[in-house]
Structure formats: C-alpha cells, structure tokens
C-alpha cells in the first residue's frame, strides 16, 4: 500500500513537469503566429521604438565605473563647558572612543567618499572612506554582499556597521541630529562597526520580518582587539515592520550584541576623585529594542511628514575589573547592569523645513565593584540630555542644521551646546533608507 502511494506521488509530480517541459515550444509557435498577425494589425500606430538612448556613451571604458558619492560636512560649535573634560559620568569608555560634542568653534566634520557597484552577477561591493578633519582617514565600511542568493538570504563580508538597533547601521550624514544619542555613545562607542560576516534572512510574508546574525573580530568598543583565531563579537537581530494604510509605516526590532573584551583599558574617576586607568575583562551583552514610526499624509512625504523614533539599550558587563593599572593594580569581580534610552520626533512642517526634539537618559543601574568598592563608587547620577534642532534642505542633496542641546552627561556641569552644521552630498544619488 505504502509503495503504491509513493508511486502515485512520484508519477503525479513527474507528469506535470514533463507536460510543462513540452508546452513552451508549442506556446512559442502560437506566440509567433499571434505576433505576426498583430504586427499587421498594428501597422498604423508607431511600432515599438528602439530602446531609448541613455545619456552615457555606449561602450566607453568609464561605463563600468562604480557609483561615486562624496559627503561634505562642517560645523560651528559653541559649548559652555570645556570639551576636553567631557565624559559621561558613570559610563567610562576607552580614550580612543570618540564621544562628546567635539571641538569648539569652526571645524570640518567628517568627509566621506563612497564608491559602490555590482561586481558581477553574484556580488555587490561598496567602500565608504572617511576623511577626518585632522587629516587622517579611515575605512568606515568596505564590504561585499551577495545579490544572487534566493529565498530571502543575503550574505555580507568585510567591514560594516552592524545591523543591530535602528540608528547603528546609518551613516552620520543621515542622522536627524548632529550627534548620536548618549546611549549609543556610552554603550556602542557612538556606532558599532566590525570586521566580519553577516547573514540576513527575509521571511516570505507580507509583514516585513528580517532575522540576522553577525560574527566579527570584536575589535571596536565594547569589544577589544585581540590576536585570536575565533570571533570576538557576535550579534543577532530581528526586525518586523509594515504599513498601516497609505499614510503610516513602522518598524520595530530587538537585537543583542555579545563580545568578550580583554584588558579594555579606560580612564575613570576613583572614589577619591582622582583620574585612574582601569581595565575590564569579561563578557559584555548589549540588548537593543528599537521602534520607528513614520507618518506622511497619503504617504506623500514631500510637503509634511513626521517621524517618531525610540530605542532602549541595556548593557550587562560581567567579569573582572582591574583598578589603577598604572599604579598598584587591584583586580576584583565586576558586575554592572546599566541602561539608557532616547525618544525623538522630527516633523517636516513645510517643504524643506524640519524641526526635531530628542530627549534621553542613561540609568546608572547597579554596579557591583566587589572588592574594588573601596576604590570605586557608583556615581549616584543619571546622565540626561535634551536637544532641539531645525534644519533646512533646499534639495535632497543639501541640508543646513541648527541644533541646541542642554547636555547633563557630566555630574555637576550642564553644557549648553549650539551647533550650526551643513551636510551635502554630490555625485551618485543617495539611498532613501527607511
């Protein structure tokens, strides 16, 4: 019985396939027939015109050049506190991690040169090269990505901004505020990018559902670069999203970043009030929940639109903390659970003009220094910040922004921060990311 059923299934599946195989030739003949008749019918109106001429000269050697774009950005900054003293109380980061409001006065911001193209029918590649105002340069992103996989899979390898959270994968020139939220600065060193590989899978559903994971070197904060064959950092992320009617779109996500830094050295303030150098070795886990909602009347964002964005980051660090690595080191267990969030809204009230507001706070949480609690004390302070901005974009390639922030990330010192910023892009048309 079982065998007969199997035969039946085999036959049933084999039959239509052979029928399908035979059909095209038959259909093609009929198609040609019909086409000939149609050609006769269609004589009076113009027949199919030749493929439209494109602007580029055909066959020239430059036709294969990648799409190149250049981002130019500059700032005028006015700060009431000395930026050299900047720190986020209770959330120390290594000295080479760039956080804070930057320099006072006029300064060039990051210039970014990017090139991208399909490499062949199987891969896409891109490079974003950041030229810093101090005449140094760095590879911000350089990755290759598959375009020939199906079933919703995409693989990526190289250096790239991790897809965790909402803001993390976005380049600074697409941010709605001059600076990154405090929680991103404190927990991700502004933006987490790594050398590694990424896999993403998109579900075959009407609801957007994306799952992904990354394995990386873990070279960047909150990790630390090590000489090791295995991976130093891993992430998993999931995003869901969709539309509600024609006017609303949303996306929500949950991500986890795990890394195990070794001797991540950072300056901190001791319980006695002196600056010391400490080091952490252990496990770091950062959870991120993100949500974005966008509204435009009938989905036409040209005249007015509104964007609400919120993210919550939670970090657990568990391991050993070495106090005063330069002087008399003392190592003791360390267990910290800290969190932070921001909420921001940006409203385009007339064409070209937007206003935005962001409020954010970090929660010092619980920090257990164990035997080091004589040397180090929890701050008893929750950093917070409020920012407002107005920006003007005469075209989709240029933007001028004025931003004011009341920054209370330092205990006992409120910084009034004013920024005037320009961001312009030239060359290849930028991507309209959600």
């Amino acid at each position: 019985m079982m065998r007969y059923t199997l035969y039946a299934v085999a036959l049933a599946t084999a039959l239509p396939i052979s029928a399908l195989g035979a059909e095209p030739t038959d259909a093609e003949q009929r198609l040609r027939d019909v086409e000939q008749r149609l050609d006769r019918l269609e004589a009076p109106p113009a027949p199919t015109a030749p493929a439209g001429t494109t602007g580029a000269p055909a066959g020239s050697a430059t036709s294969f050049n990648p799409a190149i774009s250049l981002i130019l950005s500059g700032l005028y900054t006015n700060l009431s506190q000395d930026p050299a003293d900047y720190r986020i109380t209770g959330f120390p980061v290594p000295a080479d991690v760039e956080i804070g409001p930057g320099k006072r006065g006029f300064s060039l911001a990051e210039s970014e040169l990017a090139a991208s193209a399909n490499i062949d029918p199987y891969f896409y590649g891109m490079l974003a090269y950041a030229i810093h105002p101090d005449d140094t340069a760095s590879v911000e992103e350089a990755f290759v990505q598959t375009i020939a996989l199906s079933n919703g899979f995409t693989l990526r390898g190289g250096r790239f901004f991790s897809n965790i959270g909402y803001l993390n994968s976005q380049h600074a020139h697409t941010w709605d505020f001059v600076d990154a939220p405090l929680a991103y600065q404190a927990f991700l060193g502004t933006q987490f990018g790594d050398d590694g590989a990424q896999i993403r899978w998109l579900a075959p559903t009407d609801l957007f559902l994306e799952l992904g994971a990354e394995l990386g070197r873990g070279r960047a904060f909150p990790g630390s670069d090590r000489d090791k064959n295995g991976a130093g950092a891993a992430t998993v992320f999931g995003h869901v999203g969709g539309d509600v009617g024609a006017s609303h779109s949303w996306r929500a996500g949950l991500s986890l970043l795990g890394t195990s830094p070794r001797d991540r050295t950072f300056p901190d303030t001791s319980a006695a009030g002196t600056t010391v150098s400490n080091a952490f070795s252990g496990d770091t886990r950062v959870w991120i929940a993100d949500f974005v909602w966008k509204y435009a009347p009938t989905g036409n964002a040209t005249y007015t639109n509104f964007k609400l964005q919120a993210e919550y980051l939670r970090r657990r660090e568990d391991g050993d903390l070495t106090f005063n690595t330069a002087g008399a080191p003392s190592t003791a267990p360390y267990d910290a659970r800290q969190s932070g969030w921001y909420v921001q809204g940006v409203y385009q009230f007339i064409p070209y003009w937007r206003v935005g507001w962001r409020t954010e706070q970090l929660d010092r949480g619980t920090v257990d220094y164990a035997a080091n609690s004589a040397n180090l004390a929890s701050s008893g302070f929750d950093p917070s910040k409020n920012s407002v901005m107005v920006d003007y974009s005469p075209s989709e390639f240029s933007r001028i922004r004025l931003q004011y922030a009341r920054d209370q990330s330092r205990q006992g010192a409120t910084d009034n921060q004013w920024y005037l910023q320009y961001q312009m892009s030239l060359g290849a048309h930028g991507a309209h990311q959600f």
Binding site: L15, I147, G152, P204, L209, S395, Q433, F434
Partner: protein, 300 residues
Amino acid sequence: MKNFIAAWLAFATLAFAHSAAALEVFTCEPEWSALVQELGGDRVSVYVATTAFQDPHRIQAKPSLLARARRANLVVCTGAELEIGWLPLVLRQSGNSAIQPNRPGYFEAANYVQRLEIPTTFDRAAGDIHPGGNPHIQTDPRNIARVATALAERLAEIDPSSAALYQTRYRDFAQRWDAAIKRWEQQAAPLKGAPVVVHHKAFSYLENWLGLREVAQLEPKPGVEPTSTHLVEVLDQMKRQPAKMILRGPYNDARASEWLAERAKIPIVVVPFTVGGSDKAKDLFGLFDDTVQRLLAALS
C-alpha cells in the same frame, strides 16, 4: 486499489496544476500595476508600491516594500532613474536573485519608449534632472502600447506555461487600446497647439502626444518647489503670452497653481497622471478618458 490510484493521480495532477501559484508581480507605479493586470488577469497577483498621491521619486525603502520584493517573480518599474532613491536598495536587500537588474524578472518600462528631454549636460545646479531623460512616460498612451508589447513578451518569458494566456490577453488589450487611442486623439483635436503652464515637467509626453505647448513651469527648476519670485515672473509672462490652463498632478501642492490661476484667470487641470489619480481613472482606459475630458473642459 486501481481506482484509488487513478483518483489519487487525477487529484495530484490537478492539485499540482493549481499549486502553480499566481505570478507575483511587484510594480512601482499604479499604471504598471494596471497594465500587468490587463495582460495577466487572474494569472498574476499584483502589488503596487506607490499610489497616485505619492511622488514615486521620493519614496523610502520601507519595510513593506522589502517584504513584497522578497516574494516577487517580476518587478515592473518605470526606470530612467525615477525610482533611483529606493528601488536599488529594495532589490539589494530583498534576498531575491530573480528580480535583480539584467535578470528577466526585472523590467524597466522606460527602456521601451523614445525618451524625451535627455539632458546633454549633467549638472545638479539645473535642478533634479534625470540623465536618462524625462521619466514620466505614462502620460502618452502610445508609450503604454509599446510597453505592453514588451511586457507581454516578458511575462511569457518568465512564466512560459501561461504564454498563450498572456498573448491572448495582450492581443485583446492592444486592439481595445488602439481603438481608444484613435478615439482620444479625435476628441482631443481641439487641444492641439494650446499653450499650457505646468507645475512640474511631468507632462512632456502628454504634450507631445496631443500637441499641447508648454510655455512655463511653476517650479523654478525641476524638483524645486515654486517660489513667490518665480510665480510673479510666470504671471508677468502670462500677461504677454497667455496660457489656456495650468496642469498639475495629484501629488503636487495646490497653492502655487491656485495663486496663478486666480491672478491670470485661467483654469487648473488636475491631471490624474496615473491610475487612481481621480475617481474616474479606475483603470488605464479611465485614466486617459478622464485626462482628455478634463483638458477639454478647461479649454471651453
């Protein structure tokens, strides 16, 4: 037992035939959605990424678009860089190799028509120009006919088992469409040579078809919203060289055209521009019926 197997076979064959699910087509604009529906009938399941009230140039790569592109067998878009800001991103993140550019599952309508206004110099100081020429090709029904020919062939190529169906439907559509074009051209004869002002350079193909004469634009440069100084200049020009009407699309802001209409004493025509752009533009035929009627009404 034999009967059982025969019944099983018949059932399985039928089930298999029906399980060849409808062809999933992702279209960027409503006109292509309507055209795919005309050519594919029940055989296709069409998703449209934008509505008549959205500027197809200013869309973001929304989550809903990624989810739909993931499942599509065919993508049908205008091309000519109209969707440059979002479509490449959607395709790249879709995890769907079938719809990548240069694959049969990727169809750009603008490749099959003669494009107008191809710039000779590329400088963004001239506004939002498209190197491939003006992309708003759907306002000329003869372009729709050309795209239909290529699209019917493409549908047959990626879904050969239904090639006959697409050809039959195409032939039927082409005949009705040719007849309709003749009718519209007769009706629209009085429009020939009529000077018009446009909000955005979105009607070049319509003007080319009906012989309308575009004398001014409300936008100082393509893609730049009308400014008061520019509107005053256009009004001055109207005094010397009057136009018969002002054309704008459903997603253009009404204020600039209303300002000029009031002062120059000429009517505004909201051209449906694509399927769904007006109550009567329910399909491609309704789109041009209504377009021609609205233009004629403004002339009288």
